[in-house]
Symmetry: C2
Subunit: 149 residues, 2 copies
DNA sequence: TTGCTAGATGCAATTTTTTTGCATATACTC
DNA sequence: GAGTATATGCAAAAAAATTGCATCTAGCAA
């Protein structure tokens, strides 16, 4: 990453700085930029899309992959599978999920999935499992525009 | 695919034959073998795992990919994301979902996700979406063995 | 049965996505 | 400000998925 981009990122990153620290991850310009673009975009992003933002700052794709993995482990971000053949990521935090159009790829959020109750039930049902830390809930179908065709 | 494998597959495939026909897909040895191995294994399979079964019959990986796409489109099989970095597939039909261990990859089924009610609510909430045809519900966490470590 | 045709397959090549190794740089601790 | 564990960049490779095209075949109709 370039020196100026690094400085800038470190300055602007106050809110995410604490988040990173609190999970024991180092605060670096690349990670701040990553979190920032995810926050700004507010929908699941592909690595490609993320790189369109990070590359101008001099960040490498490999760094993006590694950061994504690390921050996902720590629960700061979330992997989302939109069935596009590659991973998408979004900021963790708000408890929402996605409606995905199988034709045009449109994504809409929805809330209130009741997954906590579900997780509890599943855990009770299970013999092998001790703890549930994450969940994926995506609904696939057709948006109104694509439905017509 | 070899001639003998082809014959054998076409003979044994009675139950799946009708399923394929009913969705307007052709009945071929490769597809029958694919459906059969998914049924037998009874858990989400990677392409690799599927190929370990189909390759001996002379089927190509590309055929597997194409068949999987086609049959998924028609709702005979389902794609499952276990966060292993590649797609998994299982037979559609039974309404169950998965608990996945983030450490060792163990997979366990659970039922009763109440996703139908969820889908109805989501659809009511949504402005863009007309219809929901599929859903993905996976819970990630740690199995008892991995939890200790 | 036979022949026809749309659709499925095999093969080779390619593209896309993700991972790895290693040398260097840097965030954090003291 | 120095030391150290960790993150980064670069190059390379591995893994996953797709494409083009020639051939084959399942399903249909004669």
């Amino acid at each position: 990453m370039t020196t100026s981009a690094r400085k800038k990122a470190l300055q602007q990153g106050a809110p995410f700085r604490d988040a990173l620290r609190s999970v024991g991850e180092r605060v670096t310009p690349a990670r701040l930029a990553l979190l920032r673009v995810l926050k700004r975009t507010r929908r699941p992003m592909s690595i490609q899309a993320i790189m369109r933002d990070l590359e101008p700052l001099g960040a490498d794709q490999v760094t993006a992959y590694r950061s994504l993995h690390a921050l996902e482990q720590k629960g700061l971000i979330r992997q989302v599978d939109l069935r596009h053949g590659h991973a998408h990521y979004e900021l963790a935090g708000s408890d929402h999920h996605h409606l995905v159009c199988l034709r045009c790829g449109a994504v809409e959020d929805f809330t209130g999935c009741g997954v906590d109750a579900m997780a509890r039930r599943a855990l009770k049902q299970s013999r092998q499992f001790a703890r549930i830390t994450q969940h994926a809930v995506e609904l696939f179908g057709y948006c109104k525009r694509c439905e017509k065709k």
